[in-house]
């Protein structure tokens, strides 16, 4: 275990204590390296969000961490065991060391408070020594970084588009320069053009600040493009973890193969489609109007 590792999760299990109990995360061991984007892929109900919440100790009953540990290797050299922190320590840890962009983040902003005030809130809680003026400057600077612009500090969430709200959430997660950002489906609700802009921005920011990202989504083609390594989850277990390229070129697990085959290629062959071009696409030119 060197300083290259940022987070070591070992034999982590989470159950939902209902009747009968649901084992949502089973015996997951995974390491997040410093500065890497780790993709977590899987379908709904596979436990990817539960795992992310578990790492942040955000789970609420009936969810219980039944076994395992998550150790955060701080820049200072100190090892922080996430499971043993008390409320005060947790409060200091979250957002400061590891932040999170939640699923449907664009609806996570308070509709009746300006985004500037919501950003400043982070600083007044975690940086009480700074003056209010500095808080405001810092909040403006963050909005500039994510491309929303400090001019929008006084805007309310409903005055911004979905993509802009998503950027505000990313700005907020960046505020305290955390070493780890967990992003849970951060671009799923956005259209491809906005999604691409935000992804590019995440990579640029990562280069600039050097944080690690755990990126959770079911969109495997997207993960393949942005991640350094990808873990594929199914029924609470990680079935395969490898570099993006290896996973794409030599998937070893059947499920990974099936998942890859679920996405027809944009520019390549047709894949698993019954519909062939021979049927009707070639002959009929009728009805094609080019403007």
């Amino acid at each position: 275990m060197t300083t290259d590792d940022l987070l070591t999760v070992s034999q982590f299990s989470v159950s939902y204590d209902v009747n009968p109990p649901v084992e949502a995360v089973r015996d997951v061991s995974i390491t997040v390296r410093r500065g890497e984007i780790l993709g977590l892929a899987g379908e709904s109900g596979c436990g990817k969000t539960t795992l992310a919440y578990g790492i942040q100790r955000l789970l609420k009953p009936p969810a219980v961490i039944t076994s395992g540990s998550a150790v955060f290797h701080d820049e200072s050299g100190e090892d922080i065991d996430i499971n043993t922190m008390d409320d005060v320590q947790l409060r200091a840890f979250r957002w400061e060391k590891a932040s999170m962009v939640f699923q449907g983040a664009m609806n996570a902003l308070n509709p009746i408070i300006t985004i500037g005030a919501q950003l400043q809130d982070v600083f007044s809680t975690h940086r009480p020594a700074m003056s209010r003026r500095e808080h405001r400057l810092e909040a403006g600077r963050l909005l500039d970084i994510v491309g929303v612009g400090s001019g929008r500090l006084r805007s309310y969430p409903h005055e911004l588009s979905g993509g802009m709200r998503q950027r505000v959430m990313i700005a907020m997660a960046l505020a305290l320069k955390p070493q780890l950002m967990i992003m849970d489906e951060p671009t799923t609700a956005l259209d491809v053009l906005v999604q691409r802009e935000i992804l590019d921005q995440i990579s640029d920011l990562r280069k600039e600040f050097g944080f690690s990202v755990i990126f959770i989504t079911h969109d495997l083609p997207l993960l393949l493009e942005i991640s350094d390594r990808i873990a594929v989850m199914r029924e609470g277990r990680i079935v395969e973890i490898d570099t993006a390229r290896n996973l794409y070129e030599n998937p070893r697990h059947d499920y990974t193969r099936r998942l890859l085959a679920s996405f027809p290629s944009l520019t390549g062959e047709r894949g698993g489609f019954v519909r062939r071009p021979s049927e009707s696409a070639l002959d009929a030119e009728s009805g094609v109007t080019v403007q």
Partner: protein, 269 residues
């Protein structure tokens, strides 16, 4: 053979304060039996407005929508007959089925309302429709939507849309809310049913990859204007409009990505 034609269709919405919003600007296209047109574009481009006009939930501001050469009816019994010809499958299979009713009810209703088959054959027809969408009639007919998975629900929605034996089907993001591993299955089923019944399909989506493989033609909509329209492979592989190019380049394409880069992506250290 059924032909549906959009001729210079313009739709304007009145917006309080700023005047007018042009949702569709002189849109022209023709959908015929047996063919699939994919309608792509980012949010706000006018895709749903086209679907709404097709189902007559909205009226056109100018231009014409013609079914086999005659303007589509806007009210009364003729409108009901028209809606029998053009059916819709919605995006959200959780919201488009009524939680209080059984699957039998959902499929029986159009059969009875449109008098597709004599009353004593309705049950048989429900079985036939469920079989066609590969649901086991015995196991699903008396269930309610919450007892089915998302994919099964979408199959029920498809069976319901097919009940009135339409000539044209409008599928508005029919698989985007389903789990990735069953999306292709449902699209393949749609393609197969289309071939069997010689349906014309308008496939509304933002997913260029499935649009390309599933459709004969792709129509790209941008700010209410059709900026590009042609055979699917041409539009994706050789786009001529900068907007189509931007859409294509923004879509994840691992194949191209790995072919282009010789190093592992994002390895900055």
């Amino acid at each position: 053979m059924t032909t549906l034609e959009f001729r210079d269709v313009t739709k304007k919405y009145r917006v309080r304060g700023s005047g007018e919003l042009i949702a569709l600007d002189k849109v022209n296209f023709t959908l015929t039996s047996g063919r699939t047109i994919a309608l792509v574009g980012q949010s706000g481009s006018g895709k749903s407005t086209i679907a709404k006009i097709l189902t007559q939930l909205e009226r056109v501001s100018s231009g014409q929508v013609l079914l086999d050469g005659t303007p589509i009816p806007t009210w009364g019994r003729p409108l009901r007959r028209y809606r029998q010809t053009v059916r819709m499958v919605f995006q959200d299979p959780f919201a488009s089925l009524n939680p209080y009713h059984t699957i039998r009810h959902h499929i029986e209703r159009p059969l009875r309302l449109d008098r597709v088959v004599p009353a004593d054959q309705v049950e048989e027809e429900v079985f036939r429709l469920l079989n066609r969408v590969r649901l086991s009639p015995e196991q699903t007919i008396d269930r309610r939507p919450h007892e089915l998975s998302g994919g099964q629900r979408q199959r029920v929605a498809i069976a319901r849309a097919l009940a009135s034996r339409p000539a044209l089907l409008i599928a508005d993001e029919p698989v985007s809310m389903l789990d990735v591993s069953i999306r292709l299955e449902v699209l393949n089923l749609l393609a197969e049913l289309q071939r069997e019944a010689n349906l014309g399909v308008l496939y509304i989506t933002h997913d260029l990859a499935t649009a390309r493989h599933f459709s004969d033609e792709i129509m790209v909509l941008h700010h209410g204007k059709v900026v590009e329209h042609g055979p699917s492979d041409d539009v994706i592989l050789h786009p001529t409009h900068p907007y189509t190019l931007a859409l294509r380049d923004a879509s994840p394409d691992p194949e191209k990505h790995f072919a282009a880069s010789t190093t592992i992506p994002g390895a900055t250290t």
